[in-house]
């Protein structure tokens, strides 16, 4: 299909071979019959080639220094990010600990502290059930039982040292 209007914006994609087959064919047909567009296309192509050849004229930095600077920036950013993540994790852990404590306090069943008289009664009742506690004063002096063993077997000790002691005296 031949184009009636000058397809100027399509000329660069045309000369670069970037148009679809239908559109490319339409532009080709137009160029066959339009000397102005042919000249324009040739001129644009020449400009493209000139700019391509001179693109290095645009300013550019020293690339080794550029990459070193980039690496430093990247490292610094990751270091600060790690610090930030660590800080956030610490804060979260602390928050979770506080929340858990609060939860324990709130949800634990409330045992009212019994008055002193009740405590004494409980101790008394408990002692009826526990044999050892029944003789609490004896249990309290259990260390004496160890000494009792020694005392009980005193007569089995050899008398020799005593005689020696007696003869000396």
């Amino acid at each position: 299909m031949k184009m009636d209007v000058h397809p100027q914006p399509a000329l660069v994609p045309y000369v670069r071979g970037q148009l679809g087959s239908d559109e490319s064919e339409a532009v080709r047909l137009h160029l066959e019959g339009c000397a102005a567009c042919r000249a324009e296309a040739a001129s644009l192509l020449a400009t493209l080639e000139e700019v391509s050849a001179r693109i290095q004229e645009l300013p550019q930095p020293e690339w080794i220094a550029y990459r070193s600077e980039l690496r430093r920036k990247l490292d610094a950013r990751h270091f600060s990010r790690r610090r930030w993540i660590f800080g956030l994790a610490s804060l979260t852990a602390a928050g979770a600990a506080v929340a858990a404590t609060l939860l324990l306090v709130v949800r634990s069943p409330t045992h009212p502290v019994p008055p002193v008289e009740e405590l004494a009664l409980e101790q008394q009742l408990g002692s009826n059930d526990l044999g050892l506690l029944r003789n609490y004063p004896v249990v309290e002096r259990l260390d004496l039982l160890e000494n009792y063993d020694v005392i009980e077997h005193l007569n089995e000790l050899s008398p020799a040292p005593r005689e020696q002691h007696d003869s000396r005296s």
Binding site: P9, L44, E57, L74, R77
Partner: protein, 190 residues
Amino acid sequence: MAELPDEELCSRVAARDNSAFEALVERYQARAYRLAYSVLGSEADARDVSQDAFIKLFESAGKFGGRSQFSTWFYRIVVNLCIDYKRRQRWWSKIVRLRGSLPEGDEAGVEPVSFEPGPEAEAMRHETSTQLAAAFVHLSPNQRVAVLLQVQDGLSSREIAEVLSCSESTARVHVHRGLAALRKLLKKGE
């Protein structure tokens, strides 16, 4: 590493392969820098923003879905960062202007970001030492980006449109007008 396609290198960068990242940087450093320079018009700003684009690439390589070419995806990052940079500069210049004496009735607030020639053209004028760079100053940022992507990468109108977030026909117009202007300017300079 140097012979691997961009997309393969990008997927390796996503897996935190430093040598793949370095290969991509070496492959794209000049193109990313020139693209940023064409929008911002300052060598220092282009250096900063193009480096930021590589950092962004390193951090978000996993998000490259392969629906477009790697170059198109990456250039979109560069252009977005340039737009952000310009937006921040406008904020800052607004604040600086607000601190000075503003004439009555002057609108306070942030101007919408546009790709119309702005202070970057003035900056370019100071920094350009070559004929091509001097000619580039006279193009709009959209035209500069479109011509640059056509010339240095041979991107199609559809891909340029993707980078510039515009329609394909608009991208074609940018390329055509930019090249026509350069043709005139380069002839004049001869």
